[in-house]
């Protein structure tokens, strides 16, 4: 749940919510069926989508050690799982606080930038083919946040 809605819930002890505040909650609840559909799609096609990334990455990164690409893919699997949950909750902080702060420090020390650069480019290409424009608009901001944090 995004921070604004969490704040509203905290107001429970002081007062009833105003109509425009309830609209915010209403908007989130109405977006839930789409979020759930996308979540299930990402869950059920996890291996298929990431296998495509892995296949192309092996070609593009032919000079890189396979173990390093595997480690990059494993981290990408984690990032996608957290992105999917963050999308379901409409909460980017879930991704940032629970995963990115941690991965960022591990990756900074491991020089994974070049591998990640390729992996995220491929993931974005594949998701553009696999998801509808609306679905993409729900998940893309989270993936971009991860990409920006881990690469730049």
């Amino acid at each position: 749940m995004d921070a604004k809605i969490k704040d509203l819930i905290e107001q429970a002890q002081d007062r009833y919510l105003k109509s425009d505040e309830l609209d915010l909650l209403d908007g989130y609840v109405k977006s839930l069926p789409e979020r759930l559909t996308l979540y299930k799609l990402l869950r059920d096609r996890e291996i298929e989508i990431l296998q495509k990334v892995a296949d192309r990455a092996e070609i593009e990164l032919n000079k890189t050690d396979t173990a390093d690409i595997e480690s990059g893919i494993k981290n990408l699997i984690l990032v996608m799982r957290y992105c999917a949950m963050g999308m379901l909750l409409n909460d980017e902080n879930f991704l940032k606080q629970r995963l990115l702060r941690w991965l960022e420090q591990i990756m900074a020390l491991k020089e994974m930038r070049q591998i990640n650069d390729v992996l995220y480019k491929l993931l974005n290409q594949i998701l553009r083919q696999e998801l509808s424009t609306h679905q993409l608009s729900l998940i893309q901001p989270l993936i971009t946040t991860a990409q920006v944090t881990l690469i730049y």
Partner: protein, 217 residues
Amino acid sequence: MISVADLLQDNQIPANYYGYDAYIKGDLELGLLESRRGDRLIAVPDTLIQALYEGLEQETGQASRLVLFNCGKWWGKNFYTRFSEEISDYYGKPLAELDMILFLQCLKECWLTHGWGRIEFDPTYQNQGFLMIKTYQSPYSKKLAKPRPSCFMEAGILTSFFSRLTGRDLLAIQISCESMGSDCNRFVIALEDRLAIVDSSIEEGLDYESIMTSLLS
């Protein structure tokens, strides 16, 4: 050829074991705080630590440092056991086989999540056989009547922790302290006989840079 299905064989990919939201659990009805593994956690009031320092100083005078250091050592022994069990269960391999980056990151996150402040490993003197650990916002850094580094319990915990980790008898001595206006608490860790001069240097009031220079010369 990379197979994603194989990478996902046991389905779980370990991330940050000590992430605050995931690590701290509570059973409000019983009034218990627990770690994600079910070990009990308690919040210690800052004033209790202050009271321990003052009470011990009053009752035992100079010996209070040693008492606190030994409490820290005892704590460190148990902390090492808990830490290594948690990490080896979660990552599915013994602590010794964990890569160094992951190990240090776990230790940092563990420190943070328990509210002990920040901990950092400084590799500057590693090749000369000295480990340097820095801590920030330590709850054990208290102003003493006669100014000197005061994180005795932390020195104890680091002594046991790194001795158990390396399998050698190491000693951690604090050479800079937030309570004396330093940017952080520095602990130099090495074999005991290599640190023989440190105690007298602290009594003379030398700063950490001078102490390190004399250790290295």
